[in-house]
Amino acid sequence: MKGKSSHHALLWLLPLVTGVLFLAIWALVKMAWAFPKFFLPFPWEVAAAGWEEREQLLRAAASTMSAAVIGFLGAATAGGAIAIVLASSRWMRVAFYPHVLIVQMFPIVVLAPLFVLWFRAGIHSVSAITFAIGFFPVVANATQGLISTDRNMVDLFHSAGASFLQEFILLRIPHALPYYLTGLRISASLAMIGAITGELFAGSAAGGTGGLGFMVIVYHSQLRTAEVLATGFVACLCGFVFVGTVTALNHFTLRRWHESIERTDV
């Protein structure tokens, strides 16, 4: 009993200790080099700046998160759909996969301003940019899952006389689920970055609803570096929430049967 509780305590304590250590080093570096505030603020100055700006930052975070969610959901659905098309036959893959790769390789810094030109600025452009950044991991992983079904399982289905649809729905899709969820996790971790990058190009601030990316530009222009860092940490937090949600989804969907989830029973 005692061993177990101290084990639990360590899970919290250890990262806390290293975190404090890191902040201390940060403060020491600043003092040792005597950096001015606009170059490197103290950790508590960052916290104070974040607190002062909390209203702005919360609104900006909500805006960015909305765009990130929309882009992510788009990537999740379209990515899954594209994967199903690609997985349906080898010739489909030969025909379409190279083009998927081209879209993936196309530099986002070229694509983003084009989206703004075509779709005008606003949340839809930011979402489109988020989608462009996040769809490929979903496609790649889901396709892999759909085509990597165990040969014997396919044979099992064939020997029982399963139709193509039965094989797809009863075998390939459940088999691909862990792969798809892995793709979603990767895409989720890119979603915030995608949204903020999108905002650098397409963030509109009609009435002060620019997202976190927009805030970064504004703060930088006013040399408010503490606020810039605070914005970064807020973005970080949003990212954790995002990825955490998708990971939880992953966990709950797979926990009963997938070997990737640690077993606490037998």
């Binding site: 165990d150 014997n152 399982m153 044979d155 099992l156 289905f157 064939h158 020997s159 029982a160 006389g161 399963a162 039965q166 009863l170 075998l171 459940p174 088999h175 689920l177 009963r256 049967w257 997938h258 070997e259 077993r263 029973d265 037998v266």
Partner: protein
């Protein structure tokens, strides 16, 4: 060539016994019990006539295999790697096409849909997202059986392989032996007339393997399906079979066709008998001669 009971082309004793039981039950107006007996249909006949197999313009994998399998017989195939044993099985259930010759299952060409056979693979090949029961019911679901009927059958199968208590578990919670038993249950749930087994027990430890051999022999006695069994273990082949086909490789041909019979039922004790050891030695010798001649 002799069937288990020395009669060719005739149903086994097991089947005959059940026919009689059905007649008696029907006479007493208890046809409901007939359904619950799950009357097996008569076992399949399998005939290979000059069957050859070539993959995609490659070399011959099987050359002019001619073989007639008595309904209800348990036939094992042994031989070196690459002799096409697995391919024979796959052709029998239309997973692989025949390149030349004629292969008949119950007088008809092999088919994927509407067949009455079941395949047991090298690995248990259980779907990890389904429970044990779900896995057993899977082929029935594919073949379009209603849920209630499926449930009744899976109940019976779980009892048969003694896995009632883990019906709701998922495959990752099972041991290797248990998974194999589920795989067997899944196959038998389909009431097959023909059972195809491709080295099903290869990955298991010896004790488990012997136990499962015994259970399989027992089930065969009760249900009487025809079995085509591929294995690397001569002892296992000898234990289970009425007939052992020894094959040679490059290309695959039938090297020897050995009838096997023992006095009495095959149990764990059978493995200790001199008769058993002698037979195993004989077959092994024949198998070795294949290796050296290849």
């Amino acid at each position: 060539m002799h069937g288990r009971n020395g009669r060719m082309g005739q149903p086994s004793d097991a089947w005959n016994f059940r026919q009689g039981a059905v007649a008696r039950l029907r006479a007493r107006g208890l046809s409901r019990c007939v359904r619950s007996l799950r009357m097996p249909a008569p076992p399949s006949s399998v005939v290979f006539h000059e069957v050859s197999k070539r993959f995609d313009y490659g070399p011959l994998v099987l050359e002019r295999i001619t073989l007639e399998v008595t309904p209800g017989a348990f036939v094992s195939f042994v031989g070196p790697s690459g002799c096409g044993k697995s391919t024979l099985l796959r052709m029998t259930c239309a997973l692989s096409p025949v390149s030349a010759g004629r292969l008949d299952v119950d007088g008809r060409a092999p088919a994927r849909k509407g067949n009455q056979l079941a395949f047991i693979f090298q690995e248990a090949t259980l779907l990890p997202w389904l429970t044990v029961r779900g896995n057993i019911e899977l082929p029935l679901r594919i073949r379009g059986m209603a849920p209630r009927e499926r449930h009744a059958i899976s109940e019976e199968m779980l009892r048969l392989v003694r896995l009632e208590r883990v019906a709701a578990r998922h495959p990752r919670q099972l041991s290797g032996g248990m998974k194999m038993r589920v795989s067997v249950a899944r196959a038998l749930a389909q009431s097959p007339r023909l059972l195809l087994l491709d080295e099903p027990f290869g990955a298991l430890d010896e004790m488990t393997r012997h136990h499962l051999n015994e259970e399989l022999a027992d089930m065969h006695r009760q249900r009487g399906w025809t079995a085509l069994f591929v294995t690397h273990s001569v002892a296992e082949a000898v234990f289970l079979s009425d007939r052992i086909i020894v094959m040679s490789a490059n290309p695959g041909r039938i090297h020897a066709d050995i009838p096997i019979s023992f006095s009495g039922d095959r149990t764990l004790e059978t493995r200790d008998t001199d008769e058993f050891h002698h037979t195993v030695a004989e077959v092994s010798r024949i198998l070795r001669s294949v290796d050296s001649s290849a």
